[in-house]
Subunit: 221 residues, 4 copies
């Protein structure tokens, strides 16, 4: 907590072995969080499960928070790899649908992990170091796409959409839902419903879009 860089990985692993070590540490952390909750997530246990000494863990991560952060980023990366394809969708609704799909997939793949990491993102120590709103920014971008109702405050709408997606998928995860398609359908209902009505509430909103392409299309594979 002392040094300002206490959250950055201590060194980028250049050698292959080092990269492997880092990867096993992250996966060990993920598994512990999944199976035992945040209570079971302690550095000694992570090291042990990774088959590495606690000293080695601190070679690569200067603090527990740094490890948490790295895991958060690993998951964010996985999500983005999936979500960025949304940018290539033909129009706004399709793009948004793809993004929702990515969220749903991410969540239902490792629900407990996703949910608990979501909570960690709220921790003040981590928030500062998080590419915060990368998710929100992506949505922000997509909301500009044609075919979606123009929002008064785009950033706010993006944040709302992000929060709304997160709330729904976390809830589904807690209930151990597994039906991706159904969840996708409901999230789309909420997102597109919100966009339409929030926009409409603004003076001069465009009711016309009520029957636009926003109506549930085929959705992503």
């Amino acid at each position: 907590m002392s040094r300002p860089d206490a959250l950055l990985p201590r060194k980028s692993p250049r050698q292959r072995r080092a990269r492997l070590t880092v990867a096993s540490l992250l996966e060990a952390a993920a598994q512990l969080i999944e199976t035992q909750g945040m209570d079971g997530f302690n550095t000694n246990a992570v090291a042990e499960r990774a088959g590495v000494s606690i000293g080695s863990l601190y070679q690569y991560f200067p603090s527990k928070d740094a490890l948490t952060l790295a895991l958060l980023e690993r998951e964010a990366g996985r999500f983005e790899a999936d979500a960025l394809a949304a940018l290539e969708a033909p129009d706004g609704p399709a793009a948004l649908r793809h993004l929702i799909g990515a969220s749903v997939r991410q969540q239902l793949e490792r629900p407990e992990l996703a949910r608990l990491l979501d909570e960690q993102e709220g921790r003040p120590e981590l928030r500062a170091h998080l590419d915060k709103g990368r998710f929100g920014q992506l949505i922000d971008t997509l909301l500009q796409r044609p075919g979606l109702p123009r929002q008064m405050d785009a950033a706010l709408a993006a944040a709302d959409v992000a929060a709304l997606i997160r709330g729904l998928v976390d809830g589904a995860g807690e209930r151990r839902e597994t039906d991706l398609a159904d969840l996708q359908r409901r999230v789309e209902a909420a997102v597109f419903g919100y966009l339409e009505r929030a926009a409409a509430a603004a003076p001069g909103g465009q009711g016309r879009e009520c029957e636009s392409g926003m109506r549930a299309g085929p959705g992503p594979a």
Copy 2:
């Protein structure tokens, strides 16, 4: 964690002094959680801030979790006192609007507390002892009211609406929003949008309601 009743209050305060002690303990816990996050929430600190000895805390709460639970219930009680009025609203939309209002008020009054307590509700040790889904059940009831689109799976829809409200208000709390009316408007957009579209998606959905009383009315007092 030893006894099964380790979460029930240890003894009910009979004397006035005792009731005061319990109240200060709960409020001290609330304040600590608000100002320092869950990290600052430890039994010794709670007792100190309440101006009471640690022994007194354990006279009334057999464990830290019991204290957390009691706080959770205190807040749930406050919410319900506000929310139950929804049952007296003339129709479904009005009732739902009132419920959303209660949620928004609760959240924006003590945003950090509300958010962190929401997270605590997810802890397995507590979930079991929680009147789980009191919120969801209330919504479930309201969704049956006339004026709202009939949902295929009412319980699921209720859970979704609950998750969606919670996601949006938590997000607003994190961003330290203070404009209750605007937040209310957006949550209504999401909720009514979801209900309409989720219902519509079901075969034989009723497009007619698109212009029904669900459209933003004056909102709750």
Copy 3:
């Protein structure tokens, strides 16, 4: 008390330093029990007297009971190292005399420690994990040797002899006796007297042994 393995040593010390740590912890525990009684036996004090941090104690002993158990076993080991030679004695009486000698030596060496540890053995949490009756079993074996009166219920007789030895030497320890030879003489009187008379009481007991080799011989060195 939580995990079932909370009494097994947590990890075996591999490095020399670790072995030293464990040994000092055990000896510190022994000394505290000796000098301050069980009241002074608390983990923090043990660690401090051992010149080790409390954390180190818990590296090797998962709980206070585990430490107690280990100490119990250390002492049992010392006793057995001495007592097992009894098996090589030429006949029953000689063997029994040797065993009594070992008991007497053990007791008078560190009387308070021996007495208090004896009491600990009775604690339910520990009894389960104790090679219970190793002492009794040894006696059981010796009682089969020639030259000793045959007992009706050998196991019961063995238990009685064990209890009787323990009672006498504990009592002597409490009185701070130091004359090993005299104590040995009296314990032999009780043990052989018991064996002869308990056997005689059974129908067809052999009064003949009244003047056998059971009469106090020279005893062990």
Copy 4:
């Protein structure tokens, strides 16, 4: 621990109600010790089980040790009421047999209580205030009676006999024996065996008594 009289009952209960309160406190203590071991024996629990406030407990007993002591004395009194009849026995062996009978009865009636209280007697804080060796003194007296082998050191022999009886009956209690007659038989074997041989070992011991009235008679009623 401060006042020198911290172990004496704070006041002799004169009124009938007070005597009742004291009695229920003692019995509550006894039951807690029996059922939960010394761990369950704490002042608050005793008061609660006795149906009395903790404040009242401290009205009658200035400290926990005072309560323990009083319980110890209650049990000693019960024992003596039974044992003193031994003084009226016609000869030494009969008297001793009666004493053994009293010990056996006392032990098997409430074995766990008896055993744990025996251990408490060893506590330094209590030993000082105990009519120590009332048991030993009684034996001492009995050993002077005709018909028993003369011992060199009568006090030592008495202590040995006491320790030996206690060891055997405690052991039997731990094994949850219930056959009073058999236990009595074995204790007599040990006691008389010890007396005969310990005496015989002294120069000029009287082998003659080998077949004296010490041989197991009918035993006490």
